[in-house]
């Protein structure tokens, strides 16, 4: 960006609004050179969304913390939770988060084969997580410990089910990203979408850390 451009009598679009030029112009992020690169705007917007999602989860966590002892004479967490199952679920989600990171490295290095391989592993571990969770839920409902049994179980199914729903949506998004990279290659807009997906997937793992600690580990102790 030269100074002549700024001092021109009628500068035509001096800030290149909406042209997503950041990749070519020298935009050091100090308010010079017009708006930031589209990748930064998109990534930051998605980051704000993720934080709002975390705030939403915090409300469910608060509800769970308040209602945890409201078992209405029904089963408690210590009666219901199978910690081996939870440990396997945790491992699945952690490994899938790691392989998602490998996929973003493969994308940076423009290696389609490694990208698809990493994404496939991410998908398989994510599916394993969801299947284990569905199995757990089905077992609890079959025991008569469904969401209608007590306030504790309502809060449990809402919180854990909401996370499971997020993971399910993430898995669909993952398949979409694989298809888009397969069909279109590493184009800038596909790479921006993948950046958002990887943020989403890692954020889900962070929520799961809070979840297995507060719901399962602390719930099974009492």
């Amino acid at each position: 960006m030269t100074s002549a451009e700024f001092t021109a009598p009628h500068p035509r679009d001096p800030y290149h609004v909406g042209h997503g030029h950041g990749a070519h112009a020298h935009a050091p992020g100090h308010g010079e050179g017009g708006p930031a690169d589209k990748r930064i705007v998109v990534g930051y917007g998605f980051w704000i969304f993720l934080l709002s999602d975390i705030v939403m989860f915090s409300a469910f966590f608060a509800a769970f913390a308040v209602l945890e002892r409201g078992t209405a004479g029904g089963p408690t967490g210590a009666d219901l939770f199978d910690m081996t199952n939870v440990a396997i679920e945790t491992g699945c989600l952690l490994i899938s988060s790691f392989t998602c990171g490998l996929a973003s490295l493969a994308m940076e290095a423009r290696r389609p084969l490694w990208f698809h391989l990493s994404m496939l592993v991410t998908f398989l571990f994510g599916v394993a997580f969801i299947l284990l969770e569905i199995h757990e839920f089905a077992g609890m409902i079959a025991e008569g410990a469904g969401p209608t049994r007590s306030a504790f179980l309502s809060a449990f199914f809402t919180l854990v089910g909401c996370h499971g729903l997020h993971v399910t949506c993430g898995l669909l998004w993952l398949l979409t990203m694989m298809a888009q990279v397969f069909a279109k290659g590493f184009r800038p807009h596909v790479m921006r979408r993948f950046l958002c997906f990887s943020l989403f997937w890692h954020a889900l793992d962070i929520i799961w850390v809070a979840l297995f600690t507060v719901v399962y580990l602390m719930g099974a102790m009492t």
Binding site: Y44, S58, M83, S97, T213, L217
Partner: protein, 128 residues
């Protein structure tokens, strides 16, 4: 963009700062993150079953492990750093943490206080 000084290149949330595309350096970061996360997860699952931690202290230990693991995920997987390009990311995160603490802490505080001041009720009154 590779000719630029890394300090001059803006980064999006989740982006890692590379001067060049370094597959090895990126992989090392993820491996360190994975190792730390596995360690902290194992510690969390092991803490309640061991007799080494004083009983009432176990929830505190679990919360400390969880916060540490969230920090590991943020730094090694989401690449949140203290660098100048991450200022906005960190500020938004700090605001999010404030809201989360207010919601969870406030709810628990208010409801505990209400439970404390409630008239003792037997199971007969609790029945609808």
């Amino acid at each position: 963009m590779t000719h630029m000084d890394p300090q001059d290149v803006d980064t999006a949330p989740g982006d890692e700062l590379h001067s060049e595309y370094e597959f090895g350096a990126g992989l090392r970061g993820y491996l360190i993150g994975l190792a730390l996360a596995v360690l902290l997860t194992a510690a969390s699952f092991w803490a309640p079953s061991t007799g080494l931690i004083w009983g009432p202290g176990i929830p505190v230990a679990l919360i400390v492990f969880a916060i540490a693991q969230m920090g590991v995920h943020l730094v090694f997987f989401l690449h949140v750093t203290t660098g100048p390009d991450n200022t906005n990311t960190v500020m938004a995160l700090a605001f999010c943490v404030l809201i989360v603490v207010l919601i969870i802490g406030g709810s628990i505080w208010i409801m505990e206080n209400m439970n404390y001041h409630m008239m003792p009720m037997g199971p007969a009154i609790m029945q609808p």
